[in-house]
């Protein structure tokens, strides 16, 4: 094994790339959970975004357009979850699982003819001055636009939840849907909007996998990224800033194990591949064992069905 093959500059740069899809999905899911809805279908929405983004990019030649349609596709498929849980009052856990299964089936059906094809990917931005800085320029300022958009999105979500009136309403709906309803807020409508936002974000995250990170379509390519995004929301105890930390931490682990594999660590490739999942479990345990910081931050009505009796 030759660790000197690992270039620290490229390492940091690739951490940003590998964290972006999970970051996008996780920040969307955080908004959904803040509104009191637990959507376990992130994996299904991500893979739908991945396949739709890829197919659109192949057929139009425009990855940007692919991202846009992937976001729409994520929102549309999340709408099915919204209708079932909010209007038909189905169990959110079961419906989320169903969404994942539907998404996985739908995506491999749509993606079959596109396997093995190559697509245009997003161009790296040429940021003047910053991009030319030694070391830091290549590490932080030579990425494609989605990396920066995802960071901007985290900032926007943070500000939206903390400083805007709508953010306050969304949090109120998540903390106590009965009180919010009594005050005249449209609980179902707010939750529907949050669910669709989460779907759009997951769709973008999925498209980032198939259009930038890999960039190819393979069946089941999200490989649990959606579930990890869910874990990151818990890890972050529903705070935007910590979602960012969690996603980058996880991106770091993924890239590091890939680098170790590439550096010729031949024994136990499988043990390296499973490390992100094992570490996610360990982190979840750490967070949940610290009761003061962890679960009490969860929205009080998370996962509960709302039915207005009056």
């Amino acid at each position: 094994m030759d660790l000197s093959n690992i270039n620290p500059i490229l390492l940091v740069a690739s951490i940003m790339i590998s964290a972006t899809p999970i970051l996008l999905a996780a920040i969307g899911e955080m908004v959904v959970e803040k509104s009191g809805v637990l959507n376990l279908g992130v994996e299904g929405m991500m893979i739908t975004g991945a396949v739709i983004g890829f197919v659109v990019a192949i057929n139009t030649g425009s990855p940007v357009f692919g991202f846009a349609i992937a976001a729409v596709a994520g929102a549309v498929i999340s709408l099915s979850f919204g209708v079932l849980t909010q209007i038909f009052l189905s169990n959110q856990v079961a419906t989320g699982l169903g969404l994942t299964l539907v998404g996985l089936g739908l995506s491999s059906l749509i993606g079959k003819p596109y396997e093995g094809m190559k697509t245009e990917t997003l161009p790296k931005l040429d940021i003047p001055i910053l991009g030319d800085l030694p070391v830091v320029g290549q590490m932080l300022f030579s990425h494609d636009i989605m990396v920066y958009l995802s960071l901007l999105l985290v900032l926007a979500v943070w500000a939206f939840l903390k400083y805007t009136r709508f953010g306050l309403i969304l949090r109120a709906v998540g903390e106590s849907h009965d009180s919010a309803h009594a005050l005249g807020y449209k609980v179902i409508r707010v939750r529907m909007a949050a669910i669709m936002f989460g779907g759009a974000c997951a769709g973008l995250g999925g498209a980032y996998l198939s259009l930038v990170r890999v960039p190819q379509w393979t069946e089941g390519m999200t490989a649990g990224a959606g579930w990890i995004a869910l874990a990151i929301v818990v890890f972050a105890s529903w705070r935007a800033g910590r979602v960012l930390v969690g996603a980058y931490l996880f991106g770091g682990i993924t890239v590091l194990q890939l680098n170790l594999q590439a550096a010729g660590m031949t024994w136990g490739v499988q043990y390296l591949s499973m490390s992100p999942y094992v570490i996610t479990i360990l982190v979840l345990v750490l967070i949940s064992s610290n009761r003061k910081k962890g679960s009490h931050n969860a929205p009080a009505n998370l996962g509960q069905t709302f039915h207005a009796t009056r």
Binding site: V93, G98, L104, G105, L106, I281, L284, S288, S295
Partner: protein, 362 residues
């Protein structure tokens, strides 16, 4: 205006009708899906639901397959349903299934080429223990630290898949297999083979175990205090705690039972239909069993029927792939749709649909 009015009691009729309605809706929308991908919908539906049972040419082969596929689905779904009843969401049955198969096969292969009638029972116990141990990870973490069992059990599926990849090209690899990954064939070793009990029926030990599990689960839920406690925990967690039901014990019991059954399902699969530990041994039964559990309304008898139906879609799906060139993924989508529709129409069980203006509450 259309609105929903909560029923004082769940409707008896709709409890039985909703799965039927969901199947019909799935056939309808599945038909539309097949039309979109350019297959005749009527022919596709017939190939999936009718031909495996009654086609003059294929039925003789596919009918026994029904039990072969339904066995593991039912066995796993019974375990899951008991947890779901208590509000414990074990969605990592796929991992418990894989680890059960690895542990059971490992014990068997350690004794190879000994000949003894005790080997298969020993392997079954090892498989059950393997699945149990794998399920105990989320259970203990939940009890000790309050860690979310949904996420942990699911993460462990990916860990189990990596362990599977590792052992099938490592410790369990067939030394006479010319370096190919994959273990010795356990179905061809007389001490470990899990053969059909009646020729041409598809009925192997695993299917028999599944049927026994259905009966025992029924007795547990309707006649035993532990089953009552589980139902109470799911329906009224606070009342259960006041009545002295320990939430920790319920979690350990439910996850442990699901692990045991999933582990046994894995072992029966590896000694019978699958034959060997290979890298692609995980076949998704653990996930499909979730659909089976819900389609069967978390009731043992319902799960028995749902398992047979889901097995039919598997076999019919394979037949449709072969005869009509339908992509395999469409069957996966078909099964997912079934769960979706079921959850959607379930509203009719607990709510009445009223048309008209809402009365002003007094």
């Amino acid at each position: 205006m259309i609105r929903l009015e909560k029923r004082p009691q769940p409707s008896k009729m709709w409890i039985y009708m909703t799965p039927v309605l969901a199947v019909l809706l799935t056939m309808l929308f599945g038909g539309i899906m097949f039309m979109v991908i350019g297959t005749s919908p009527i022919e596709a539906i017939r190939t999936i639901f009718w031909d495996p049972l009654f086609h003059p040419q294929f039925a003789a082969f596919s009918r026994p397959q029904l039990l072969v596929k339904a066995g593991p689905l039912i066995l796993i779904a019974i375990g899951l349903s008991i947890g779901f009843r208590a509000g414990i969401w074990n969605i990592g049955a796929e991992g418990q299934y894989i680890i059960g198969a690895i542990c059971g096969a490992g014990v068997g292969l350690a004794l190879y080429p000994m000949e003894s009638a005790l080997i298969l029972p020993l392997m079954i116990i090892a498989g059950a223990l393997g699945g149990w141990a794998w399920a105990m990870i989320p259970a203990i973490l939940k009890v000790k630290f309050g860690t979310n069992e949904i996420l942990v059990s699911l993460m462990l599926v990916y860990v189990a898949e990596n362990i599977l990849a590792s052992v099938s090209s490592g410790v369990l690899r067939n030394p006479e297999g010319m370096g190919f990954p994959g273990s010795r064939n356990l179905a061809q070793w007389s001490s470990s083979q899990n053969l059909e009990l009646f020729a041409g029926s598809g009925m192997h030990l695993g299917v028999l175990t599944a049927f026994i599990a259905v009966i025992l689960a029924y007795v547990l839920l309707t006649r035993h205090i532990q089953g009552y406690n589980i139902r109470l925990t799911g329906e009224a967690p606070r009342a259960a705690r006041f009545a002295g039901v320990s939430p920790a014990r319920t979690v350990l019991f439910c996850l442990g039972l699901a692990g045991v059954l999933a582990g046994m399902a894995g072992l029966f699969e590896v000694t019978g239909p699958a034959g060997q530990i290979t890298i692609d041994f995980g076949s998704g039964y653990g996930f499909t069993a979730i659909i089976v559990a819900f389609l069967g309304r978390l009731h043992p008898v319902g799960i028995l029927l749902a398992g047979l139906l889901m097995a039919l879609t598997y076999i019919g799906g394979e037949l449709a792939q072969l005869m009509l060139g339908v992509p395999g993924a469409s069957i996966q989508l078909f099964q997912g749709m079934l769960l979706f529709f079921l959850l959607g129409v379930d509203v009719l069980t607990n709510f009445r649909i009223r048309v008209g203006k809402a009365e002003v509450a007094a």
